[in-house]
Symmetry: C2
Subunit: 337 residues, 2 copies
């Protein structure tokens, strides 16, 4: 990081004038452990899972949409496909626990822990063994990608009902109330929002997750894709790969990952703050400062894909710009600063 | 725009969930006059000019840096080179009024109006004829690019002293005080800032630019690159090309362009709000909402290059994503909304 910071000062620009790009370049230098980091091999890991809590009618989209959207991913027609193509990232789709069997596809990795979680209003969403299994699956997926060549990874999710689980995780770990951390997901009315908050309250009352035990929180009110994404973050950090996280669901996974291992925070880059109410608070709770704020709330990793681009812009300017010494440009204000 | 808006509703995502990407896609559809806009041919136009007001010691960088940085541009070593390569935009550098003769280069267009403006503290920065010439040069440059194939254009600047001129333009047109609209440019101390504000006050008192006459404002307290960029905006709008503007200096050019022809505003996309104090106020004054806020203050069009990427992301998602009708995805909340 010191090496990168020093180089930023030598580049032909007023010191600090690339703002957040400089900041992210220095962070990535630290993560990759080299003053001239590189971003060549990029991957998006998008994990899907279903949620038993959908039985409580927490949103407007039927459970089946999870599987339908995975099919859409595999045909290249979703937002994340378009944006991954634009940023030049390969995409890995993972079935972590979709409620139906998906058609085999070479782009789809099947790590199905179960056919959806159980309804967390009636008891734990999953067993602790399943929570461990979902974390391990995430670690395996990212480790496989590391072997193929990986300089940076983005995370994304698909799972009808997963903003409900994510709000429950945030409330459980932070002690904030359900009302504070619950938003409108894909778009619900005031009345539906009130109901969603009640559902989360009930899930917390029934399960009483211990905030000191992140694995228990994941098991009681989490989701398979959320556990999987937490595993991706743990595995990426262990391999010194920066992880660009998407919105509210990736944020909930980051809460689990950083609760399990606080150092993971240093490997996470928050791509954007989403339009989901509670996301800004969640990032702030983790001490992560988002790169962008584009009123997005699609999930799938769409925000993370844009974040990959900004991270790459930071690294490219750090590595490719000329220094004062290499040019005839006067150091001006930098020399005097 | 209506066609694009309707398609956004048909795409496989919750309506509105791509936020600002949807907004910018609809705007570009309107500008290009087609429901399925395209962004294939991208160009950055970076204009350079010197400023007589540098005699008043308004910053820390010597005048010579303008020419030195243009040379750096032509060698591909500046921030704008790196970011333009990343977004796949060709770059056109224009000498609008650098104080010295630059070495001929096939990437450099020479439209030199004069060897730098005059010191605006002592009288007008340029004649009205020169202001007209700078606008016309900008129109010519962008028109040439349109002929080569152009779907979107970004603007950038290089000119030691040009935040001073830009603040003066903003104060002159808006009636705001010099203190309100003046920031630290490439980085100055509190004392230097006080001096810079005094210089701008003096320039306004000496010249008394009429806020109703944008051409007079440009002549009295503007710059050749600022006039050129205003011309680029006028020419792009006339050719139905969206213009992604960079920071404070491109903003000052947009103030001139929109004062001359208010409809130009509809063709402008504000890439980012820069760290230069006064820029947020300037965008707000024009009713433009920036896409990003990355604490950047380098100029050169670096923010605009990133803005080109976001604009392209908006257009690509609009055009390339699958619709509900094309897939088996349930319309869920969209149908009910």
């Amino acid at each position: 990081m010191a090496e990168a910071r020093a180089r930023q000062y030598e580049l032909t620009k007023p010191a600090g004038s690339l703002g957040r790009l400089e900041e992210v370049s220095v962070k990535i230098a630290g993560i990759q452990g080299k003053g001239n980091p590189q971003i060549k091999h990029k991957a998006m890991i998008v994990m899907a899972g279903d949620h038993g809590v959908v039985d409580e009618k927490v949103g407007n989209w039927p459970r089946e949409v999870t599987a339908q959207m995975v099919e859409n991913f595999l045909h290249g027609g979703a937002g994340i496909n378009v944006l991954s193509r634009q940023v030049g990232a390969r995409v890995v789709f993972v079935d972590m626990g979709v409620a139906s069997d998906l058609k085999p596809d070479k782009q789809l990795i099947v790590k199905k822990v179960a056919y959806g979680t159980k309804n967390m209003c009636l008891g734990p969403a999953m067993t602790v063994a399943q929570a461990v299994k979902s974390l391990e699956a995430g670690i395996e997926v990212v480790t496989t990608e590391v072997k193929k060549g990986l300089d940076i990874v983005g995370t994304g999710d698909m799972g009808i009902g997963n903003t409900t689980a994510s709000s429950a995780i945030f409330a459980a770990l932070s002690g904030k109330t359900a009302a504070e951390v619950t938003g409108r997901g894909t778009g619900i009315t005031d009345e539906q929002l009130k109901h969603k908050i009640d559902v989360i309250k009930r899930a917390l009352e029934v399960n009483k997750p211990n905030p000191e035990k992140p694995l228990e929180v994941l098991a009681k009110v989490g989701g398979f894709e959320i556990g999987g994404l937490a595993g991706v973050m743990l595995g990426a950090a262990a391999a010194h790969i920066p992880v660009v996280i998407d919105g509210f669901i990736s944020g909930a996974a980051a809460l689990i990952a950083t609760a399990l291992s606080p150092q993971v925070k240093d490997y996470i880059i928050a791509a954007h703050v989403s339009a989901e109410s509670g996301h800004a608070m969640m990032l702030n709770y983790m001490g992560l400062k988002p790169l962008m704020s584009l009123d997005m709330r699609l999930g799938e990793g769409t925000g993370a894909a844009l974040g990959l681009f900004i991270a790459e812009a930071g690294v490219r300017t750090l590595v490719e710009m000329a220094t004062f010494a290499e040019t005839a440009v006067d150091e001006g204000g930098n020399a005097r600063a």
